[in-house]
């Protein structure tokens, strides 16, 4: 049993895995940003579920939901030659956005996808590292009796 919200997050992850994003190695797209990577693995992309608001009864027998799916892109300084860590996140932000917006229904799972807020954070290891985390609001519909379809 898998909720439609998780199906959506997994569909987005698959969308980013194949074909491989530019500069992303094997396993460079994961479902969780925590404890998954070492500095040499960067850049990477993590796709995971965020919050979800109250469902709306748009039709009799159906519920409309909006789930936040978080896409975190982490990179290190020089990931893009001569650029800062934050700037090195930018090409993957552009590429993942384009890929998601070219398939906004995710094969029929979603009604619509739009970009929400963005958080940018920086830190320092032996080189500076940074991430850009994008909230995507994904609208989807389920029957009133199941979260799966």
């Amino acid at each position: 049993m898998t909720s439609k919200a998780l199906q959506i997050a997994e569909a987005i992850q698959t969308l980013f895995e194949t074909p491989a994003l530019t500069g992303i190695g094997a396993g460079g797209v994961q479902d969780d940003p925590d404890y998954a990577f070492e500095l040499r693995d960067l850049p990477f992309v993590a796709v995971y579920l965020g919050d979800e608001g109250e469902a709306d009864r748009a039709l009799i027998g159906a519920h409309d939901h909006t789930v936040t799916v978080k896409v975190r892109i982490t990179a290190k300084k020089g990931g893009v030659s001569g650029k800062s860590a934050l700037a090195s996140c930018d090409p993957l932000h552009v590429e993942t956005y384009a890929r998601l917006m070219s398939a906004p229904t995710l094969g029929g799972l979603a009604l619509d996808v739009r970009q929400g807020g963005i958080i940018r954070q920086r830190d320092v290891l032996e080189v500076p590292v940074a991430y850009t985390e994008i909230d995507y609001a994904v609208d989807y519909r389920t029957t009133e009796t199941s979260l799966e379809n």
């Binding site: 404890y35 990577f37 070492e38 830190d123 320092v124 290891l125 032996e126 080189v127 500076p128 590292v129």
Partner: protein, 95 residues
Amino acid sequence: MSAFATLQQRTNAAVMAKLSDAATLDGVAVVGKFLDDSAMAFNGIYGDKPIFELDGIDGVDHRNKTLAIGTESYIVRECKPNNRNRSTLLTLELA
């Protein structure tokens, strides 16, 4: 110099000779200890926090100089007195 101070100086020199790491700062040999503790960023990215503890205080701003140690080169990003002015901490970034 008192007998104690002389002994302290000799002891320190002996310890540094034994424990220090060979390094150069902009091509000039320096004496100090390389520390490369493991660190983590963002609750999940593993890496290191390289620091070179330069023996003594020379009053020079070493920022942006290149510290070479072994096969690695680092850029000095921060330079500050340490250990009650007995050493200088150089915070490093992998070049």
